[in-house]
Assembly symmetry: C2
């Protein structure tokens, strides 16, 4: 394995779309919503283990999840867990990891990946990532992984490729687009030029730092200012000082959409960001009535439902069709699958009613 | 208050119709399903307190509920709680209380009442019961309380009166009938001759014993055989000996349907046996959408539902119409109001799946 290859796992997210199973103090990346026996973050870690040296993994997370990260990946040493004092979106998270890794190894190449995605074909995935690392040797680009869309999903951002500029399996990126309407998404898929934006990136650490200097100079200035402290006892304190001053901005908006050397590796390896209950449903085993059930549930005249019960509890469900039923700790959610976008609003209203710690 | 008047509260029932709120080790009589601030058994006790001397109350219950009875009615002395080693229906329960009370006071009159009913007009109720006690002075009858029906309820047994034999407000009973079909129930209500059987009785202790001798001699023989032990330290042991040998039989079937001196006081005092979730619904306060809600619940596009959540838990419910949603401890029930008769079956199936202690 190449000692210059590093893996940065981003695990600071606090999603509310899986409430009440996903909670503020135990968010999605630490859950096993699909009932596969391992949390998303554990799967993510193991997915890269064959191609990245174990000592080259870094997990960036919110300070409040540091202990959870240790529990799920006990192999990590303390210095492999980068704790953010507060969430500032992906650009600062990546800057932190890039400066730290680059100081350790100026020849570092790093793959950056979210901690809560699903990959079905892991060997194909590793092939793609390895190919990406190799590609960087001759092409100093910002590489992103695009997924060939199999349906006009309106929940994803899309990457348009420049079909005229291709090197091996890699295309130059023409545009990044936000989540489209259904009509636009259909056109995207038909065109063959648009790919889902997986949020997985590969680049050299010194190259991404150069891009921070160009496109997000105020972010660069903060992380550069504490360069002496990386990988020392001062690091945690220094990070705590600069984070509150740092802009909240995504790497897509801050850099990927602005840099002119962005390439995409268009791939197919059974990927989903598992962003909603319905995507959980799509990837779950179902009973004869099309119910995706996790836990002890007796159903009668019930079909097309997602039912998720905690250990030790039984549900008896009669007469439900295409509902989400999730029982977890101090909350129960019952809502039609078609209305799952309401869950964010539900969470806000429960927060107003019961206080922020309830969520 | 008349020192000869006694109150026997029957509290041994283990209903499953309110599962999962009502549990084997915490059944309905100890619950406050309507959210009135007191359990059914506490309400029952207080309902009689104005007309019966406190030392003349006896609660008959299953041994496993003795502690619960003490918690709900701490005023009771130990000797006022009669513990059955196992449930044998109402006839043995009443025989036990009658022999015990009769030995204490051969002039005793006793009202016998279930512990889990609802009475809205309690002063009217007390009037009726007091009138009943007085009636016994001149008429040595078995008195039962009939309720004027306001709808053709198929969940109740009915009492037909003999309109030709009336003394004051009391009619001789012609027949007892089981739960009728809807068509029959409609005829009953229209006729004006049929009343709901409330399961509340008033009689002299020596008279009901005489009826046991006549109609249930084998039950009488058991309870008469331990006459020396009542109100002594031997009582508990003696009861434990005879109960397993005793027949399982209701007072209605064993005596009321057979005796020829049964009278009924037809009454109206806002009574319900609160036997089903739908009867809970009928007697509960409802929100603007007709939902009867107990606990912290946010509803959206939801109407006509009964929602019952435990303390400290929040439910978010969208898109439900006329459902029962009950969350309690280790079980969650979701079923249409119209199918509530299935709950007994659900309980049996959960028992099969999870074992008897789960219920």
């Amino acid at each position: 394995m190449n000692k210059n290859n590093y893996c940065i796992i981003m695990a600071g997210g606090v999603g509310s779309r899986f409430w009440p199973v996903s909670r503020q103090n135990h968010p999605k990346q630490f859950l096993d919503i699909l009932g596969m026996g391992k949390s998303f973050i554990r799967h993510t870690y193991e997915r890269f283990l064959d191609i990245i040296p174990a000592e080259n993994f870094y997990v960036v997370t919110n300070k409040k999840y540091t202990e959870l990260v240790k529990q799920h990946i006990p192999e990590l040493k303390n210095e492999q867990i980068l704790s953010e004092p507060l969430g500032r979106n992906t650009a600062p998270c990546i800057a932190y990891a890039a400066y730290k890794v680059n100081k350790l190894n100026p020849d570092a190449k790093m793959v950056v990946a979210p901690s809560d995605h699903l990959v079905l074909n892991e060997s194909k995935f590793r092939e793609v990532i390895s190919e990406g690392f190799d590609f960087l040797d001759d092409n100093n680009t910002l590489l992103t992984i695009g997924i060939k869309p199999n349906r006009p999903d309106t929940g994803y951002g899309y990457i348009q490729i420049d079909t005229t500029v291709q090197i091996d399996n890699f295309n130059k990126v023409k545009t990044f687009t936000e989540k489209p309407t259904l009509e636009v998404a259909k056109m995207f898929v038909e065109s063959g030029e648009f790919f889902w934006n997986s949020g997985i990136f590969i680049w050299k650490s010194d190259e991404i730092i150069k891009q921070f200097i160009n496109h997000l100079p105020e972010v660069d200035r903060l992380f550069a200012s504490i360069n002496d402290s990386y990988n020392t006892e001062e690091e945690e304190n220094a990070i705590r000082q600069i984070y509150p001053e740092c802009r909240n901005i995504s790497i897509d908006y801050g850099i990927m959409e602005k840099a002119d050397n962005v390439y995409v590796r268009c791939s197919e390896f059974g990927w989903s960001d598992i962003g909603t209950w319905v995507s959980i449903y799509q990837h779950s085993a179902k009973d004869v009535n099309g119910n995706a059930i996790l836990g002890d549930v007796l159903t009668y005249d019930t079909e097309g439902c997602i039912i998720n019960m905690p250990n030790g509890k039984v549900a008896v469900v009669q007469g439900m069709k295409d509902f989400i039923i999730v029982d977890s700790d101090n909350a129960l959610l019952i809502c039609p699958k078609n209305d799952e976008q309401n869950i964010r609003m539900f969470v806000e209203e429960v927060k107003m009613k019961k206080g922020p710690d309830f969520i």
